[in-house]
């Protein structure tokens, strides 16, 4: 479903991602862990076409990210960001922001589908007339997830989806994501610095440090503490 090959991303003077490769199978949930600045988020942003300057190959559901039009890419892969306060437009109603991608892509009955999506993520259609400031952080993150699902993508890229939320709300969002993955057959790539969250959500994970891959593990290896690299061990000990 996702093939990333020798991906290198350079910003003016520094290398954010250095020759990283991984694959994710259809329906799988794949985790990226590592310290801040290790390049996890940059990988996600490059996968949805938000970075221009990169080398290597990325294929997502058969589409070459470099040559595919942004609009076609958006119907295959969507991203949910860390900060639900920053990722919603403050002066658009919830309904408008969920409907907008569908209007842009000429999908029939955007309003009806918006109501459906709001039901799906457990808020209910009545929320479509509210503004972001009337919602709590957890509710906003649900809206961001609904918007990401509005074009029926097959892949969701989740960048620290719960790290800005309270633990009680985190549990609700993680449960929601797992339910959606099962119901809609989605593929996930989840960035998190919390190994517990990754172990709960992902079948496989990649540990990153200083823009490079440290190692790739299965959930079973993680749980058996079967790690080879010193840094992964450090990470495990600190969690």
């Amino acid at each position: 479903m996702i093939e990333v090959e020798n991906l290198t991303v350079k910003f003016s003077s520094s290398t954010a991602v250095d020759n990283v490769s991984f694959t994710v199978a259809e329906g799988e949930s794949f985790g990226l862990v590592g310290e801040s600045g290790s390049g996890k988020s940059t990988i996600l942003r490059t996968m949805v076409g938000l970075n221009r300057h990169w080398t290597g190959n990325i294929r997502i559901a058969g589409l070459d990210v470099r040559t595919t039009r942004q609009r076609d890419l958006a119907r295959t892969v969507q991203m949910v960001f860390q900060d639900p306060y920053g990722s919603l437009h403050p002066r658009y109603t919830i309904g408008q922001q969920i409907a907008e991608p569908m209007v842009i892509n000429g999908i029939a009955d955007p309003l009806g589908r918006t109501a459906e999506l709001l039901d799906l993520i457990g808020l209910g259609a009545k929320f479509q007339f509210r503004f972001p400031h009337e919602l709590s952080g957890g509710q906003r993150q649900r809206v961001a997830i609904a918007r990401a699902l509005s074009l029926s993508p097959r892949i969701l890229l989740l960048d620290e989806p719960t790290s800005a939320l309270d633990v009680s709300i985190q549990a609700e969002i993680l449960n929601l994501l797992n339910r959606l993955r099962k119901e809609l057959g989605l593929t996930f790539v989840i960035v998190s610095h919390d190994l517990a969250v990754i172990s709960y959500m992902c079948e496989r994970l990649m540990v990153m440090r200083n823009a490079r891959t440290v190692e790739t593990l299965t959930r079973e290896q993680l749980r058996a503490r079967d790690v080879r690299d010193e840094y992964s061990r450090e990470l495990l000990a600190a969690s």
């Binding site: 801040s36 600045g37 009680s168 549990a171 610095h193 517990a196 709960y200 749980r223 600190a238």
Partner: protein
């Protein structure tokens, strides 16, 4: 230091209430009768957003917005009655003897000053006789102490050039460099990676132990707080629902505390849906 040892209490708060005006012209109580005292120890305050934990910290420092209504029966810091202290005295306490580390470096650092200028400023406000070169040396040492690589280079950076974790460490360096008697840390490590978090916590731990400093550690991370602090106060909807010895956290009695513990995923935990909190209306009224 001496008066602190005599009373044994660095901070005493009794029946703190903070309220904000609502749209109807009435008052919404955000903190509802919080009382606790702090010695030279690490006290954790845990609760969800909106539980009043940050407001409690801010009341102590005296940095609530002017439109907040605050009432308190006793509010003292090292024998100083903060209710009657002059604004000048309170201002001199802040940053000097009482430090606060805030959650978000994006909003707490000055965007148009370099990291170095800001730390040097903090140092020289505390010691006006200190020369520029010495202040700079101290600032670099402070950055080193919070494990920032290449501190010389980072001194010349602006806040927007820092990652979240680096910004957080810069703020900690800036507060800790003055070696305050009381440090109020409001989610100081929420933007940090687990490995860096451990380092930063050990820096703060060392300060508390070495300087005999009091620490109020505000966080929503129950496990982190229980590992790091001596005592934990659990807040819900503006009240203290439970006070625990950190090592007995898992023996928590209140259903809210139990719920918070249960909803955390763990590396070895079950893959079944996580339990979520069913908030009980009686928790609102539960006495501490």
């Amino acid at each position: 230091m001496t008066s602190k040892q005599e009373t044994g209490k660095l901070v005493e708060i009794e029946n703190l209430r903070v309220a904000f005006r609502n749209d109807e012209g009435g008052w919404n109580d955000a903190v509802r009768g919080v009382s606790f005292s702090l010695g030279r120890e690490k006290l954790g305050i845990v609760g969800e957003s909106g539980s009043g934990k940050s407001l409690t910290g801010r009341s102590l420092l005296g940095v609530l917005p002017s439109y907040a209504k605050i009432s308190v029966d006793k509010l003292s810091f090292d024998g100083i009655d903060l209710r009657t202290a002059s604004p000048k005295l309170r201002r001199s306490l802040r940053g000097g003897r009482m430090g606060m580390i805030l959650q978000d470096p994006k909003y707490s650092l000055n965007p148009v000053m370099t990291v170095g200028q800001q730390i040097v400023e903090a140092i020289r406000i505390g010691n006006r006789k200190l020369g520029a070169t010495d202040a700079r040396r101290q600032a670099i040492a402070a950055l080193e102490a919070v494990h920032i690589r290449e501190p010389e280079r980072v001194m010349g950076l602006y806040p927007h050039e820092l990652s979240g974790g680096m910004g957080q460490r810069v703020m900690i360096a800036m507060m800790v460099v003055r070696e305050p008697d009381l440090l109020i840390a409001d989610e100081p490590t929420s933007a940090l990676d687990v490995t860096v978090r451990t380092q930063v916590l050990s820096i703060m731990d060392e300060l508390v132990t070495r300087r005999g400093m009091g620490l109020i550690f505000i966080s929503h991370d129950l496990n982190l707080v229980s590992r790091f602090c001596d005592r934990v106060i659990v807040m819900y909807a503006g009240r203290i629902v439970e006070t625990l010895d950190a090592k007995n956290l898992h023996a928590a009695k209140h259903p809210y505390t139990q719920g918070l513990l249960a909803c955390l995923p763990s590396i070895d935990g079950s893959l079944e849906p996580l339990p979520t909190l069913n908030r009980d209306a009686s928790w609102l009224e539960a006495a501490r």
